[in-house]
């Protein structure tokens, strides 16, 4: 069975400029597919091809339009007369730290990344973000020392580096943001009590007997148990038993 569709053969190709060189490509493809259509075998500037990894940060301009645009090559469709340059790597400052030895305070942000306080608030980062995050806002939160807010606003960051590439204050916003998120996750987010209790129960061997029993079941017995499972309901608050019925 063949389920991959025929690629639509576009009759009218459009011109794009890959690092200044002109190629004719189909009008419906992404920038990444256009580069491959043009004959490039990609090594840099390609990753998950699904918008999650930040490998294919791309900047472009359209002929006659002075504005610079930004996007992910795998998620952006080509336009006629597009001038493309990928930024597959950007040399951004990153501090090393021991998360276990830190305190979730503004001072921790400022001492680990002193340059945070040099942010000009110009918003070039926000304009460059292919995830449409308000990078300036999370940097402002960071300058206030508000770790939680910085963590929340920056959460969808894919660390592509376009913000750092555009920053006149030479910030590496995304590296500061992950410090904020880790401080939040480790120290400021409310702790999960049920998780703590479960670890104690497992350490005390409370589930060993059940686990050993279920491991010893024959295939038929397993199938029976599986078919007879009680399925927890999302709506009702009825608490099911953590024990299997044997």
């Amino acid at each position: 069975m063949e389920t991959k569709p025929e690629v639509t053969e576009a009759t009218d190709l459009i011109p794009v400029y890959i690092m200044g060189k002109r190629y004719m490509v189909p009008p419906t493809v992404t920038i990444m597919d256009a580069m491959e259509y043009a004959g490039y075998k990609l090594i840099r500037g390609v990753g998950c091809r699904g918008g999650f990894c930040g490998a294919c940060a791309t900047t472009y301009r359209i002929k006659g339009d002075p504005k610079l645009y930004f996007g992910l090559a795998c998620q952006t469709v080509v336009e006629p007369e597009m001038y493309l340059a990928q930024i597959p790597f950007f040399p951004a400052q990153r501090s090393s730290y021991d998360i276990k030895e830190m305190e979730p305070t503004p001072a921790t942000l400022f001492t680990t990344y002193p340059e945070l306080l040099r942010c000009l608030g110009c918003g070039a980062c926000t304009k460059a973000c292919p995830q449409d995050l308000d990078v300036r806002a999370y940097m402002a939160a960071g300058m206030k020392g508000d770790i939680s807010e910085m963590a929340d606003i920056s959460f969808d960051c894919i660390m592509c580096g376009l913000c750092a590439a555009r920053c006149p204050a030479e910030e590496a916003q995304y590296n500061i943001a992950i410090l904020a998120r880790r401080l939040y996750g480790r120290y400021l987010a409310p702790r999960s009590e049920h998780l703590k209790e479960r670890l104690e129960e497992i350490r005390a061997g409370e589930f060993d007997e059940q686990l050993e029993k279920v491991k010893q079941l024959s295939r038929d017995e397993l199938m029976q148990q599986y078919e007879a499972r009680e399925i927890e309901s999302e709506e009702s608050d009825e608490e099911l038993s953590p024990l299997l019925p044997f």
């Binding site: 075998k41 699904g50 990894c53 992950i178 998780l195 479960r198 399925i231 927890e232």
Partner: protein
Amino acid sequence: MNGYPAEMRESIKKVEATRMRRIDETHPRLSAKESERVLNEFHPDYIEDRMRAIRVGVSKGQRMPLELADIVDGRPHVSPDFNLTDPTAQTDVLIIGGGGAGASAALLAQESGAQVIVTTKLRFGDANTMMAQGGIQAADRPSDSPAIHYLDVIGGGHFTNDPDLVEALVKDAPFVIKWLEDLGMMFDKKPDGTMVERHGGGTSRMRMHSARDYSGAEIMRTVRDEVRNREDDIRVIEFSPAVELVLDDEGQVAGAIMMNLETEAYHYIKASAVVMATGGGGRLHYQGFPTTNHYGATADGVVMAYRAGAQLGYLESMQYHPTGAAFPQQILGQLVTEKTRGLGAQPVNKHGEQFVFPLEPRDVEAAAFIRECHEYGNGLTTPTGQPGVWLDSPMIDIIHGPGTVEANLPAMVRQFKRFEIDITKEPMLVYPTLHYQNGGVRLQPDGSTEIPGLFIAGEVSGGVHGHNRLMGNSLLEVTVFGRRAGRSAAVYARDVVLGTPNLAHVAAWNRELDENDVDTGVISPILLPDYTRHE
């Protein structure tokens, strides 16, 4: 590109017309018998002429997809007389692969006292882990237990899983959640700290932990950041895939041959132990399916470990995720997370009717989608000829309140918005897509293999999921077995005494290919798919 074409809009009207009625009715689950029938008739794994037996090596005769068999039966990159006297680096533990499993292994190996090198084909973190959206399973709520998790895993895998591996998976699970929380991962939580947990396909308890729909990305960037903080002990080498394992004269692992992807130069890294964590092989596009996988997912680790003498298993079984994007063409095959169904979105056909329980195990769900399109003719066809069914995402905000989709599926919202589709108001067109390699290299619960010094972790391995993995158990697998393999490798490396490194197994492999007249015309591992246009 703006939204759906007119003929698809007509069908959307039907979906809208039935929506309020469907909110209160869910299609029943299939019985075991019905599941078996739909799998047999419609799941790609059951199409005999798209599989073949591999022809050389210790697992000779095992069946797997044609595309994979050709690579496993392939020729090595380097000659057996490659110069091994001058390694470019030397370390206790060499970790091949910089995804979730490799990074977890690096952290635990380092904590166990080892000097570590991580090599990765592309950038550190370019891996399927980064793309996993839905979540990670762990039985940590009062109504749940490791034994119930075990039963779900075994049943989902059609009772073929390796019991010892499943036990390790479910027992470590709550500890892994705690480990990630301590590393600073931001789980979805209620204000009192209770984890937000939902169902996934085939679960009997709600145990899917998530971080919006960036669950894998959040795990990956957190463990990666931690690896980078330990740069004194862990060196990361990017754009440097391994192409062959090196053994010593006792048959112990002695490192690997690497390729600098940019200069194409080969070099040897000597190591006392190796953790193989190279991930899966979706980019081999079995049976022409599109894939959710990362660009580098070409089954390299299966090839290398097998050539060195490790056993393979379960590779006749691949996971086709039921909901790959079927429209627009630009994102064909990309993942629409199972969490979408977990939140209440139903799959419906072109008439706006349900045809399957929304959260069957993935293989059953996928086979039901294929049947609905190809057997019953109730699917849609896009302008490019791609079949698909609707996934009715607007139901989510009706069930849980406005803003739920935006808050829980920001990556999905963003991805479709780029093509002017608003998934809070319009359904998504979906069709199965190649997602996961259920099988791979056989391993023990401590990550070890028959080859002394070779440890395995993550998607490259086979056994824990049997013939079908449940959602949320791959992020769990990479962390559980990454940690186990890293720790085991470091302990092993302390005491091992290496002999003379050699590539005798490569010479033996070439001989066996010749003797059996096997020539697939492939040099493997292939490292990257070739998408360039050839005129």
